[in-house]
Amino acid sequence: VNGPRVLDVDLRDEASPVPAAFDDVVALLWWGHRVLGEVTLTSECGDWAHVRAGLLSEWRPVLDALALVPVHSGEPHVRSADVTVVVTRTRPGDLAACLEVLARLDPAPAEVIVVDSDPTTRVASEAVGGRDVRVVRAPTGGVSAARNAGWRAARTPVVAFTDDDARPHRNWVGALADGFGDAAVVCVTGLVLAAELVTPAQRLFEASARVRRDFSPRLFASPAPGADTSRLGVGVNAAFRRDALERIGGFDVCLGAGSATKGAEDLDAFLRVMSLGGVLAYRPDAVVRHIHPRDLPSLLQRYSANGTAYSALLRKHRLSGGAAVVAARDERLRWHRDRHLRGLLGAVRRRDPRRVIELIAELTGSSRGAAALATEQAGSAR
């Protein structure tokens, strides 16, 4: 009714998953547990049999290729029972809905841990209710501290992270576990899509995210910041080997939502586990749907926070010494030149005010990154 609906559509199903009366549907296409891609279906597309036949014909080369690549190759290195799910950032309504989705995961994880970032309220315990979920209290605010409290409480070799405003796909844990197909893989990330596209802000956010969306599995082993860093994944859909987190000392509490730097604790952790020689696997089959900012002010804050966070991340690696120093400097130059300068010029030329606003907000945020990091580091040192 309100904006396009988002749906998961398995092309193997002959029965229509699309509601009889609908406007637009943004459908994530699946073939069993494999993600193919995303399409927008409109009411003019005709009946489902017709749509399905067209989609099958379009995706036939991909399906043929997938048949050559088995999902499981031999004995899996990680099983779903080796995975603990850690949920952070507790907002009352969202947490209950998220836990409802996690309860339906198939295969199920060994355990779900909720990190209560605000132990002064009963929000987490009320949302948990009678569910088979462990609640762990975070010592201080901030998503990094919460995630650290979560993985330290976990008893399994792999820890998967998500937030309460995320809705993982039913096979999420299975897909993450599959991602650890090789002992060299220390971290698996996945695809993040919109859980709803109801408000203009959400549609704007999705439009800018869609540009960078990747439906192909990839491996990364780049320990220093670079052009690939933004493609590594996001913390709302990531799993780490617990021993890798131990070796890097967990997430940096100077970064992340809830701190002045407002994010990038996930990218920082990805880079640091790779700097120890590990490989990061991006698996589009590990799907998490996320409730994007609903209102325009929150969207602008998000754009600005993205700029602050990435700038702080680059600053941190610039100060870290070693090979990352030059890489971080080069990446900052590339980021401002390609994304902000060229991006802005292109947006002005295309008369795309939304993109202009996004990039200006991000650029404005980026100017605060270094100071934000210094503030957090000074606070942390005290």
Partner: protein, 395 residues
């Protein structure tokens, strides 16, 4: 039970008229919500056959709380709530209410008719206000089961134990009538129309007051939606979805600075006042909906404090869910009366003689389930706005 404030003459006149009813009330409880004009003394000095009991709130607490106080002080079996500026049409008001209750086996709230008084001028907004009341009365006389939006605290009655069990009215800036009505309907109390239980309601108005009321309605609707998110989609605030992106951006600005929204209302109000006085209907129609929109969302912004919170509240309605997992409810158009459907329904399958016509989203708004409302849903008649009332004001 009559809540009043600063309307001594009107309330005294109303009490005199009630004393002359064929079925004399057990008592008349007048709650003076802050006695600023000697209302309590004027009432005490009345020499009437009916017992008049003034109850004074030292500090103004709003009409909703005043009604609760009055209900708590009352002793009769049936509570009849009246506004202080109304006048019974005849001497059968109390009889009609009591008869409506006695003719029923189950608990009910009885909605009496509020007839508009003769318009004191021919200005577009005066006539538009009169038309609104005419629509309201028409609804009571033609509908089957009523919707919660049909209850008007200006003239309704309820059994006292039922009112006590409901917990009374909530403290809200406005819409406490809808909220109360919805709550009692949910608890199994029927809402029934008694068109013969009629009062006459003044149609005099002041543009500034109208816009202030609109602001309070916005705030009230938000509080309502917070309390009952399951039906947020039938409240006028759901109209946010039908606004274009420019208006949504303006509303984002109002959320950031509600004070600016109020300041923006001043020139809009002046323009509406001037256009109303000049009788320039087309220009007025263009301005008045904008002014109403700004006032309404300023009220919401003040109550919700942030747009994120407002949208979070809306997101708790089942209509928000984009997965389409809420089934449509069948609704037969070819029926003797058009009953208000369950307000929790998100979509309706409209049928004629069982044949499905179309699926429409549920929306209640001001004039639910009239032929016109269905026409709007079917796209045959455009959505009725204040501007439409103005356009049809002379008719």
């Amino acid at each position: 039970v009559i809540p009043t404030r600063d309307r001594r003459q009107r309330v005294v006149e109303l009490v005199r008229r009630l004393d002359r009813q064929r079925l004399e009330p057990t008592e008349i409880v007048v709650v003076v919500d802050g006695d600023v004009d000697g209302t309590a003394a004027a009432l005490s000095s009345l020499d009437l056959s009916t017992v008049v009991r003034p109850v004074v709130h030292e500090v103004n607490q709003g009409a909703a709380i005043a009604r609760n106080t009055g209900a708590g002080a009352a002793t009769g079996d049936v509570l009849l709530f009246l506004d202080d500026d109304v006048s019974p049409r005849d001497d059968a008001l109390t009889t009609a209410h009591v008869t409506a209750h006695r003719s029923r086996q189950s608990a009910a709230a009885v909605a009496g008719a509020c007839l508009p008084a003769a318009a004191h001028d021919e200005r577009p907004l005066t006539l538009a206000a009169r038309n609104w009341w005419v629509d309201h009365v028409g609804r009571l006389t033609t509908a089957g089961a009523l919707a919660f939006t049909d209850l008007n605290t200006g003239n309704f009655s309820i059994e006292r134990p039922v009112f006590a069990a409901s917990g009374g009215f909530r403290r809200m800036p406005r819409r406490e009538d809808w909220e109360f009505s919805y709550r009692i309907q949910r608890s199994g109390v029927d809402l029934v129309a008694a068109p013969s239980a009629a009062i006459v309601h003044p149609t005099d108005h002041d543009v500034r007051n109208m816009l202030r009321d609109r602001m309070d309605e916005g705030a009230g609707d938000y509080v309502f939606a917070e309390a009952h998110p399951d039906i947020a989609h039938v409240l006028p605030l759901w109209a946010w979805f039908w606004l274009d992106n420019r208006m949504k951006a303006l509303i984002s600005g109002i959320f950031l600075a509600p004070g600016a929204g109020e300041r923006a209302l001043r020139p809009l109000t002046s323009a509406v006042v001037a256009l109303n006085a000049s009788g320039a209907r087309r220009l007025l129609a263009r301005h008045v909906d904008k002014a109403y929109g700004v006032a309404y969302f300023t009220g919401i912004a003040k109550a919700a404090t942030s747009e994120a919170r407002f949208l979070e509240t809306l997101s708790r309605s089942p209509a928000w869910r984009s997965s389409g997992d809420v089934p449509a409810v069948p609704y037969e158009l070819d029926a003797a009366t058009w009953d208000a459907p369950d307000p929790a329904s998100v979509a309706l399958d409209l049928t004629i003689e069982g044949r499905q016509i179309t699926t429409v989203s549920s929306r209640m708004g001001g004039f639910p389930w009239s032929a016109e409302a269905f026409g709007r849903r079917l796209g045959a008649v455009p959505r009725k706005t204040m501007a439409d009332h103005i356009a049809g004001a002379g008719r």
